[in-house]
């Protein structure tokens, strides 16, 4: 983990050179480029979906196709039980799945970074209490906690987002705290202190820039986890019932008997879509991690 800060500090014009070196190494990693390609493609698809999909195509009432028809020329992925095209649902489902994943990650990072920085910078009782709370949250089974929170908050995307953020911030907090401790042990922090830097100056101008690359890497990996959690919670019936998302598609496939009738074309695509997106984020995150931390490479 110290390698992150070494890479950022050692070069002559520090940050820019580090960024340039990072992008060069990133482009040279095939898996990273593949992951980035996947993510770019899916983001474009999600943003462009309203251009070629009319909301009426998603409505159960207006559906024209036969119920649970296998793939055909008109509907390349077949239809669901109310006759909507599975392909249309699949493309539209990208939007809530990505949105919840990204927003929940943003909250996770905010909470995790704030408490990690605070716990690492302020030692003593306050810092230890903060870490104890974090440890306690890590030990707790995530899904039952998320289910309970989301159930009490009511169905919908907001409660799913909150539930994911509440259950996933402790991991980030622990990571950021460890990195904060490592950075604060370095001589330039002592120098800054000797020059009279206050807590705020130290945390935001000295520590945060050195922790930032780690935050970025960790958030890529967190998005993958958040998307998985979001689809799981939606599958369990905690999502907005009128929304079309990958989790709700699988939920309906199981609930309305598509599974028992062997309608694989309705079950297979949303799962593969989840897998591809999670794979994209994981590839990018792992590659960035490897570039920033050369020690990891040897272990893999």
């Amino acid at each position: 983990m110290t390698a992150v800060s070494t890479a950022a500090v050692a070069a002559a014009p520090p940050r820019l050179a580090a960024v340039r070196r990072f992008s060069r190494a990133f482009v040279a990693t095939p898996t990273a480029v593949a992951g980035l390609g996947i993510l770019a493609g899916i983001t474009v698809l999600a943003l462009a979906a309203p251009l070629f999909i009319h909301p009426s195509e998603l409505s159960v009432v207006n559906a024209t196709g036969p119920s649970l028809a296998p793939p055909s020329a008109r509907c390349p992925l077949g239809t669901d039980q109310s006759g909507r095209s599975v392909l249309t649902l699949l493309i539209w489902g990208t939007r809530p799945s990505l949105a919840i994943g990204v927003i929940a990650t943003a909250f996770t990072m905010l909470l995790g970074t704030a408490s990690g920085l605070a716990a690492g910078h302020y030692g003593g009782i306050a810092g230890r209490m903060l870490m104890a709370v974090t440890d306690w949250f890590i030990a707790l089974p995530a899904l039952p906690l998320a289910i309970s929170l989301a159930a009490v908050l009511g169905q919908g995307d907001t409660s799913i987002t909150i539930a994911i953020a509440v259950t996933s911030w402790p991991g980030t907090a622990r990571l950021i705290r460890a990195q904060t401790l490592a950075v604060e042990a370095r001589p330039f922090i002592e120098r800054a202190k000797a020059l009279g830097a206050g807590d705020r100056q130290l945390v935001f101008r000295q520590v945060l820039p050195n922790v930032a690359p780690l935050i970025l890497v960790s958030s890529t990996l967190t998005v993958a986890g958040a998307i998985l959690s979001a689809t799981t919670l939606t599958f369990l019936g905690l999502g907005n019932p009128t929304d079309v998302s990958w989790g709700s598609m699988i939920n309906q496939a199981l609930g309305d008997g598509a599974v028992t009738r062997g309608a694989w074309w309705y079950v297979l695509p949303p799962g593969i879509a989840i897998l591809i997106v999670v794979l994209g984020f994981t590839l990018v995150g792992r590659a960035a991690e490897n570039i920033l931390n050369p020690r990891m490479l040897r272990e893999l």
Binding site: I125, R128, M129, M131, A132, V133, D135, W136, A139, L140, P141, A142, L143, P144, L145, I147, S148, L149, A151, V152, L153, A224, L228, T231, T232, F235, L236, G237, L238, I250, A253, L254, V259, T260, R261, G262, W264, V267, L268, P270, G271, I274, L275, V278, L279, T282, E299
Partner: protein
Amino acid sequence: MAAAAPLPARGRNAPESARSPGQDSGRRDFLHYLIRKLAAAVISFTVLLVVGFIIFSLMPSDPVAALTRGRPTSARQMAFLVKQLGLNQPVWERFGRFVADTLQGQLGYSWQFQTSVASLIAQRLWPTLLLMGSATVVSVVLGIWLGIRSGWRPGSLIDRTSTGVAVTLWSVPTFWLGIILLVLFSGGFGPIPPLFPAGGMSTPGTAGGLNPAHILDVIRHLVLPCLTLVLVIFAQYQMIMRSSVIDELGSPYLVTARAKGLRDAEVRRRHAVPNALLPSVTVIFLQVGTMISGAIVVETVYSWPGLGYLTYQALQIPDLPLLEGTFIIFSASVIVFNLLADLLYRYLDPRVRRQ
């Protein structure tokens, strides 16, 4: 708070034990250790009660409205319910009563089943234990075996294949994997005949009890849910075993073992593996949280009548007392297993004892 409590204690005890190493101080050290870990577990449980109380008693804006939803209720009945649920009392009193009730095993009454939550949980506990137990055994054996194979020759074909498969399965959504297995093996898909039942724990209408036919029936129902859990979870054990075998690879004692002329398989089985097993063994206990999350989803897919499916059923209403009960049971069992992992690790690894 769980970790904060033991810290000062460790600082006080460490020099003392370093001064007088011996049988007696070893036992005293263990007692200290045990008390510290027990105290940490008790604090964790207290925090769990606080969180449970906040989520289920303070966060719902109007429990009476939720309780009487869809039913005609007069204002007097509402007032009676408020009084009966104790909602007009101060928060501290309500918390005190909640703690007392929980410690006595009174987890309230389920809204949809109209029985006590505790009896529901007791009823559904065994199916979950059967599912999680069998899945743990299979995935530990499979994961450790694959981990040894791939860690002993890192970069070999078996390493790359098994690591790739394990990581892919690890990132597959559990519920989707379950459904795919369900479509493939229970409905009769293409050339595959319907091999296993689609859900439940036994065929309806058959006699229960311990007769062989019933046991066979339960096993047939168990195969698919157990397989799903195993496929998702064995990656953990495989990765941990692999990396701890790799850690041992360069050790001098392996060179010694080879210099003695032992065959490669013997060096692996009798020297490397016993040393590398340690982390995997404790991880079994630390994985209970992951197992619970997996069980909730898998039981939902296969309508396996355990605690996970009970959680799902509670979620559909939502039946808050029932959800609260399962939340407390799940979290409490994680706390207990973490404690067991700590104690077991100390028992298995003499190095931890000496520190």
